[in-house]
């Protein structure tokens, strides 16, 4: 093989692929550069931001977003959106909390039931998308609205309030708290355990995407559904699994939130779905599917966490936070587009 390639090296068709171009083809590159820039920027502005306690602080919201952004990115690479990803967080937390506090179910059992509910939501989303062929945007928009109503309606019906409280007084709470909302001490600084889960989920997601058959199918159905069906990719199964992965993550985050705060509001998670999508897009996922990175999405979440807290550490008026986010999203998307163009043009 080596001889063949050296012989062939004279062929004008063969081009050398430089390290730069190879790097540029990585979808997460823009996000990684952005994250470094933002870290340096806020570190210069605030001493606390770069201190261990500051890092622990901004990693915390990043972890929550990141745990969701990983499956959301996979789903986007597979060519779909899940607008119900945010409210499903509320549904998960509410289910667990209501079952424990109102129906005296053992916390762990309630969490298992909540997981089943979430997987059911994901399955329903995926099944409807596959069966109807309608855009997932529409299907999950209806799930989003439906769950939003159910979250409030059911909560009010059962508790007469719009939040469920008192989880902290339930048995097994301490154990669940340690698993989902505990802290890990590194060098005297407490870090939320969610950060560890986030890293693990990112690693797992990336492995699945890049190193398994399933991951190959995800790229394929997002890139060209018809073509992938033609070569025998089980598109329906892959799509449904992706939706279920998103809702499983929503289960995780929803339960983390309920256990951490000891209560959950009926509106929890509402509006967050866009943030997950934004994180995935900053991380290099194409809105049209077929291209993207799990690590990139996690870095996107990290950017989110650093910016939301960095603005506070810098002592700026937090009213401007959304504006910065918007500007950053635009920059990220433009950078990604530039990078992809450059990579593809030099490939022609």
């Amino acid at each position: 093989m080596t001889t063949a390639s050296t012989v062939k090296a004279a062929d004008e068709r063969v081009r050398s692929i430089g390290l730069v171009r190879r790097l540029l083809l990585k979808p997460e590159l823009g996000a990684v550069i952005g994250a470094v820039v933002i870290f340096v920027f806020f570190s210069l502005l605030s001493e606390v931001f770069r201190s261990p306690s500051g890092v622990a602080n901004w990693l915390d919201p990043a972890a929550t977003i990141g745990i969701m952004a990983v499956p959301v990115a996979l789903l986007m690479i597979g060519g779909h959106f899940d607008l119900s990803a945010g409210v499903a967080i509320g549904t998960a937390g509410i289910t667990t909390t209501i079952l424990t506090t109102q129906y005296n179910m053992v916390l762990w059992v309630a969490m298992a039931v909540s997981l089943l509910v979430c997987l059911g939501i994901g399955f329903l989303n995926g099944y409807l998308v596959v069966r109807t062929g309608l855009p997932s945007f529409i299907i999950t928009l209806s799930t989003f609205l439906g769950l939003q109503g159910l979250n409030v309606g059911v909560t009010k019906l059962i508790t007469d309030q719009v939040q469920v409280q008192g989880l902290a007084d339930e048995p097994f709470y301490d154990g669940a708290h340690a698993v989902f909302a505990g802290t890990i001490s590194i060098g005297g600084q407490d870090f939320q355990i969610a950060i560890l889960w986030w890293i693990l989920i990112t690693a797992l997601g990336s492995w699945v995407l890049l190193r398994t058959r399933f991951g190959n199918w995800v790229f394929a159905i997002g890139g060209d559904l018809g073509a992938s069906r033609n070569v025998g990719v089980p598109a329906a199964r892959t799509t449904i699994t992706l939706f279920m992965a998103v809702s499983a993550a929503a289960w995780f985050v929803g339960n983390t939130q309920a256990i951490r705060l000891g209560s959950i509001q009926a509106v929890a998670g509402f509006g967050q779905e866009l943030i997950f999508i934004v994180a995935a897009v900053i991380g290099g996922c194409l809105l049209t599917g077929g291209f993207g990175s799990v690590i990139g999405a996690s870095v996107g979440a990290l950017i989110f966490g650093m910016t939301s807290q960095g603005i506070v550490y810098a002592g700026w008026d937090s009213d401007w936070f959304k504006f910065f986010l918007g500007a950053m999203l635009l920059l990220a998307v433009l950078a990604n587009r530039f990078v992809r163009r450059y990579a593809e043009e030099s490939g022609k």
Binding site: M1, G223, G347
Partner: protein, 285 residues
Amino acid sequence: MTATPMLELRGVRKTFGNVISLDGVSTSVRAGEVTCVLGDNGAGKSTLIKILSGVHRPDAGELLLDGAPVTFAGPRDALDAGIATVYQDLAMIPLMAIWRNFFLGREPTKGRGPFRRFDSRTARAVAREQLLRMGIDIRDPDQPVGTLSGGERQSVAIARAVYFGARLLILDEPTSALGVKQAGMVLKHIVQARDRGLGVVFITHNPHHAYPVGDRFLLLKRGRSLGDHAKADITREEMTALMAGGAELEELAHELERDPASPAGRVAADLTEEASALGIHPDGR
């Protein structure tokens, strides 16, 4: 060459409603031979492909596989019989790396249980090696297919079909959208596949592409066979003339050439000539 044909069509007819797509079409493909199917748009080429690849079943006539009559229930059956079809859209995902495309749907795995994973090292190596065997050196199998040229993409698709055990390749207009150089490359791959003992059905509307590589030519027009010839029985000129519609074309030329001296008449003559040379039917069908 006298062996039983790998696949044979006898008097095949296919209708859709009151439209007769194919009628009385017969031809054969042998191992190590290229059968070219020539015809214009609407000649029935795509219906023929679909019958060969198991998508449609003929209404009349028969299909013989290695000499025995066979009915394909679906594309899967045809695939299992070693018949691989490379469609025009190639069934490749432009944004995905070459090696990922190569093994899409049939990924090699290693490990077991939850650790079963896509054996990417093998996939990369095999994709590279298979393409090398076709004379394409892809330095970086991680390159997205979208960055390849049209001819290279065709080659990847052919290499993929060959690697996954095709004995009979059906190529649907593989050269139609390509420039001269690229088309030449694809033709080279067709010859390579033939030399490796595969049967090839090469569908095209261009006799200049078909003649150099073909061993047998089936000419289709409006669903009917204009003849199924071995290479020895037909010259390129005869074939071109047949393709261009013979008498019809002459008539048209006369009509246009009433006054050969006039510039318009000269243009018409040039056009007709050129059209016939390219194998384009002058009446625009």
